[in-house]
Symmetry: C2
Subunit: 223 residues, 2 copies
């Protein structure tokens, strides 16, 4: 499958690596692709990281979105709308956009607050700005390493959430989450406004990371 | 122990019943105690409910707070500050106030939003309004029946959260949660601003209740 991954940070790299390893053709999108190669990526030069990863290339936001049959938004939440507008409405039209971003506002220090919450969410803002794109919120509730390898935490016995207005798109994303990454339990929170819940959960995630001292954790719904 | 429980709704009644059964002397606080007796309470008249519960009486917010060595806020979140002002600063001074309330705003229909979120929380509002009271946020993340009987869900293997500015007060509340109610794992989220996380989690709780069809659930942190 041809995939576009917007964002070249840790989340974008982790998703791209995992999806390329599963035989997909991944184009990462960056604001300025020429500037990315000299950046640091997990302790090495990004261009070295890139050479080590067959099936992953870097292009502009627009090219990455255009090349993808499905697109992942792995940009910083506060910059996501700008990145998606740079990608362009035409390149995203009719496609599933998996929104992995969290609208963290770090301007007031730590712990961060959210740039949008409670009566709206980043995913809803994106869905309103791109009405012809099928936005599915997923994966934003766990650390990048856990996203693609839930087995790394508690033998994989913990849960993921998903929401979006289009049922078929959610079903397609759930298949990817299960078959490519190994997620077993995925709770469907309904329409895209369920993203309020998934993004507001970050306030708890951040404080649990501080209290446990690790980002390698998740929650399991017990009933 | 003499306890004040502000609020005569389901949460207030459930907490009062459970704590009276464990030998405590509980005074429930109501805005208008004389009006409470004729109300419905879990399918019977409140006054009948009250006669069945030794060790529980109903009084004004002020009397309930004054009689309690420790006070529980089990009022509706949107009305909590009014209820606490009616209880009075003197009656709450120097005491632990366990804030169980959620600041749900139902004015826009369901699912509700929060009256305060993200950069502030109900518990912080209460702590600022009553600086001589030691506010501890707890129990707001589960349904009333689960609060006092975690074993009713998943053999009790799920987690609670607590936060507050005063460490000794949090320690005292944790003892109560463990010894009276049976909570095993309680995550300390730090100062009272951790209440933002505990209250914002409600957005997820509400949607999980809708997707699972039951309020008898909770989350467990897996690492």
């Amino acid at each position: 499958m041809r995939l576009g991954v917007l964002g070249t940070g840790r989340v974008g790299r982790t998703l791209s690596e995992a999806m390329a390893q599963r035989g997909n053709d991944v184009t990462m999108g960056a604001r300025d692709p020429s500037a990315v190669s000299g950046r640091e990526a997990d302790g090495e030069l990004f261009e070295v990281w890139l050479r080590r990863h067959d099936g992953v290339r870097v292009a502009s936001f627009a090219d990455a979105a255009a090349n993808g049959e499905m697109v992942f938004n792995a940009t910083a939440g506060a910059a996501s709308l700008d990145a998606l507008h740079a990608a362009g409405e035409q390149s995203l039209r009719g496609k599933i956009l998996v929104d992995v971003a969290n609208p963290l506002d770090l301007s007031g220090g730590v712990p961060p607050t959210l740039t949008v919450a409670n009566t709206d969410s980043l995913a809803e803002q994106i869905q309103r700005a791109f009405p012809q794109t099928r936005v599915v919120k997923a994966l934003n509730t766990v650390n990048a390493a856990v996203m693609v390898n839930p087995a790394a935490v508690g033998q994989g016995d913990h849960d993921l959430f998903v929401c979006g207005d289009d049922g078929e798109s959610k079903a397609a994303v759930k298949v990817i989450l299960r078959d490519w990454f190994g997620w077993r339990t995925i709770h469907d929170l309904g329409g895209i406004d369920g993203a309020r819940a998934m993004e507001m959960y970050l306030a708890l995630w951040i404080r649990l990371m501080r209290s446990t001292g690790s980002a390698s954790f998740n929650v399991k719904v017990v009933s």
